[in-house]
Symmetry: D2
Subunit: 363 residues, 4 copies
């Protein structure tokens, strides 16, 4: 159920409707739009009797939502959700595309800083890097844990980049929440409903990756899990699905981008690195992702891909990432969007243990 | 790496090798077989220098394992793993097939007991029922939680059945561990590595369902996660994979049964209910599962499928389950296996709130 | 549309209805059943006005068929279709399972006869062997063509086996039609509608293999193409579908057997050789196929699998086929079906260029 | 095997090598490049002894090709294949993208001409339309046959567009060969090897669509079938593959475009209409296809999609196609490619039975 308020409804009227909903034993989700506020009702098993709500001051109409998802739906919120951050103009869902770049895993401070300065300089506003890695084998590198988080915090301080990193369970989420700007939920956890609910109770935006064989509806329902707990800042991410095709690691399903945009107000980005699993496919598919209308990219970059502890085969060399940025920048323009320019102020210096990266930037 | 002890090696020699392995900073997994004991080594990133171990008393040879899984492998343990329980002859992997039956979710004490007496009478030794349900939507029935576990404990007491139920996160696992006999890890959590590790630290056997798009190797690696933490009592479960085919909910991949048996010593059972999603397909596919060589079945049975809160479409009526048992019993014989007989001592009484089921049975 | 005749309707009445249908510009398909005759109407774009037909003598009712398939449907014919052959008791769809065995391709007279005598002796009534091979590469062995057909005709004469072989285009179909007893349409041609129509105009039964990614409806529609041309003797064959799973060559979808049997009166057999692509999986999946209720098996057997020009990996040794027969024979009994016994009269002689196989059998 | 000639090798030397190859019982495929000529050898079962060829005048080296495909491979021909047509600058594989547009099926002269003038005006140089339709059901519209071909020939005369249309068997191919400029082989026939060989013996270029579940290697091998018969003008076409995803009719696999371009010199175009099956997805995926680097698009356009006899759901309105062209034109520029401009000379007139389309154009 969905209560649509009148355009001129007051905050007080909105509050009164929410209180009424809560008093009926349900949960109210007030979602302000540019034209009007809508209030999603969740927690009802069956139907809420609309009558009492429809008669309240400021209410325009009460709509029954037939789709299984409510809060992710455009029915609730017509305009695109734009997720912003303090201290930067970077957003998810805004005019500028969100470019997230970095290594698969944080392997060392030196490696992370060396990569960060390159991708920052090329125009990426978000840095990615795994501190907790969900690995197929229990015997392979599982990430540096909190040490990795600390390194990324240093990258934020030094380069002004926002940090995107994965939480794999409630314990890691608690730490990620403290250090990162965006909490990533990986493909293997897309239906780890317990983790989704926990992510729904953080204050940080969540980047939710599509599961390997998730339908569109399951993907949206996973986002609904997060939102139903009160965290409305969810970014969806297409990262390829599992099919019979064997020329790429996964099959990147770009059609899900316009499909999501039709049904939901949430931003959606594309991961061409996992989506293809092959370095030489990342740039063409990045161009395609921007052309199809994605709100951003998440790309693996490594300074020494052949020595990477994970996903080396799909990581770009920094030079390749710069070239990728140059190409997608032009495609973005065609779609009326933009990518942040090269930051010439970020000096690329020779990496050394003693002095890595440029001087800290005043934000 | 794998240390194979001589046939006549003493316990002391085994212990000494384990201590040596631990002293090198690795983890030793001693797995006794009928002929000889093998000791799996995990925790090594690269190669363990075999020399020092090979020279120890009682050691026959040190084998490098090329497969990514070690503890699940037949290389480590040639004989089938048989998982037994106190107070019953029922096993996983023994001559008798393990038949697990019950409703998708525990909905009420009355429902659960009514179903339990029917499936117990028909010869099922294990009762299944969800107390914690991983549901696609946050707004649908999520299970009764601990109350559901208590009802199942009563079923164990009353009918002598062993309880199989799902844990969906660390919190529920702690409770499930206390109440249940077998902890189920669902398909959606097959690569929830954090939960797998936690399950590896319980004392209870784990029933691990194959993920919706898991390859055989990923499936075995998930079991390896559990075993690498010290819990060697893992039962695998094929429950259908996701494909383009739309005449069933999932495509039941029975070929994975002989494939698992070739590579691993672990028992494997089949879930024809989720594997097909259609009541009228459950019995034929149960026959096929037994014929292909599965070590058991897990079947959804409901006394009122059309009123079930979940999975009603695929739940058998009790009469249908009895018929299924009659059919698979004959197929089992052809394979030199057996199914426990009908328990005529379990009286099927009219269910009532006051007096449900027969008197408790002395096992 | 479907005209159901009364139980006591005369042949003349049936003929009159057919003539009426043809005079309206449609095509009439008279399908006699044990209780009653039904007449399928095809060739109508939209709806046939039922009135005139309903009033004719002997007509019980006129049914509008909502499914896209008509002639394959159980709505048209309730009883199972049983396809028999002169000079043998072997059938498709009867009480005895149809066992088809032989090499992937006919490579030489000697090879074919050597295999034939082994599989015939073991109880197979149908011999398979490719004379025209649809190969992925234009540069690999494409079959012996008519010479292969002649060798199979000799096998029929010598052993009394019925011959099943593939036609890959109109030209080969014309020859196959002359030599074989059952015309096979391969998976790659399941939607070669031109070939299906041509097969619909032969007098020989057609074995139609499911396409690699065919849905159940597409599979049935392909059979409908054949039947719509007047050939009602169609045998369906499940041979595995293409999925992400990589432990077998294809994923054998046994659930399609009961699914077909629910919707259609046509017999369905299973090909565990292509369905798994691995020798060691063929026997377990054959057991499962019989247990699920299939009407027969088609199995690749080769006397020298490691020297086979195609599909050697999935071909059984003759001894393995004998063992397979022994096992499925027992499973068949559980389902109230049977497999023809071992033919001790077929002597297995040492193969030599001079004298291959036993003396010709009087049929 | 592959014979690479020296840069300055004479035609006579090339001819002599070809004759030598033929005299050895093989087939020689001379493929001239800008730098050098290469000669592919097919028809050899095993290995050709390289010695005699290597010693011939003008031969630089003889290379053994390890891949199963030879003639499609970049090993044979490094530069992209560009397929041109007399009387137009339109090509497949050249700087200008090949835009193919038109209805799924030719339904009538009026419909076809009305659509043709719209798509021609918008800049499409190729007109598509089915005269022979491979339909899932034998009871649905199967195409106008030769009448459809005649209508398309009129469109070529009137608008100067080149005609692309499907052949579904040898019979239709003979007619299509006479009327059309490009022969399409549909997805369902991608492994109809008999038809591929026949297409390899025509003089017209062939547009080969990827099968619904074809791997990259199978796709290239299907092209190899055509080329092995001597027709080297093959255009590949990605049209979506079959997966579990249900938000589109097929899953468009854009990664196959760079994958093909890496391995083969053949041009590849994309069909976003079948690739998505939904009108509102066609334009975004067309942008993506051009951005990923495709050599062209094949798009379904209908003047009255809701009345289309087939594929109406995925057909664009002419206005939508114009908008699509405007968008992809800009993306093409970013990739250093172009799309032919709007042809203002093609007047869009009100369609009427009497006077359809503009006056014939002098080519």
């Amino acid at each position: 159920m969905l209560v649509v308020m009148q355009a001129h409804a007051t905050d007080e009227q909105v509050r009164a409707v929410c209180q009424k909903i809560e008093s009926l034993g349900y949960r109210a989700h007030s979602i302000p739009g540019t034209q009007r506020t809508a209030i999603g009702i969740t927690g009802n098993q069956g139907e809420v009797e609309a009558g009492t709500l429809e008669e309240m001051p400021g209410v325009q109409e009460v709509i029954r939502v037939s789709k299984p998802y409510k809060l992710v739906s455009r029915d609730l919120k017509e305009e695109n959700t734009v997720i912003g951050f303090s201290g930067t103009q970077a957003t998810f869902g805004g005019r500028n595309l969100a470019i997230i770049a970095g290594p698969c895993a944080i392997e060392s401070r030196e490696q992370a800083l060396a990569i960060a300065e390159r991708v920052c300089r090329a125009g990426a506003q978000f840095f990615r890097g795994g501190a907790y890695k969900p690995r197929t084998s229990p015997y392979t590198f599982q990430g540096l844990g909190e040490e990795g988080l600390r390194i990324m915090a240093e990258i934020r301080d030094r380069f002004g980049m926002k940090i995107v990193t994965e939480a794999i369970d409630n314990e890691s989420l608690e730490l990620v929440e403290q250090y990162a700007d965006v909490i990533q939920i990986g493909a293997r956890n897309m239906q780890n409903f317990s983790l989704l609910k926990r992510a729904g109770r953080t204050k940080k935006p969540v980047l939710l990756k599509r599961g390997m064989s998730a339908t569109l509806e399951e993907f949206l329902m996973a986002a609904e899990y997060i939102m139903s707990e009160g965290n409305y800042r969810v970014v969806l991410c297409e990262r390829g699905v599992r099919t019979f095709a064997d020329h790429t690691r996964n099959t990147l399903d770009l059609s899900v981008v316009p499909a999501v945009q039709r049904l939901s107000h949430l931003p959606i980005v594309v991961d061409p690195s996992h989506g293809t699993g092959k370095r030489n496919k990342v740039t063409p598919l990045s161009r395609a992702a921007v052309a199809v209308g994605a709100d951003g990219l998440i790309v693996e970059v490594h300074n020494q891909p052949d020595k990477a502890l994970s996903d080396g085969m799909q990581s770009l060399y920094p030079e390749q990432f710069e070239e990728l940025m140059a190409q997608v920048r032009q495609i973005a323009v065609v779609l009326g969007r933009a990518i942040f320019p090269i930051r010439a102020d970020v000096q690329v210096v020779k990496s050394s243990a003693a002095q890595v990266g440029p001087q800290p930037l005043a934000q």
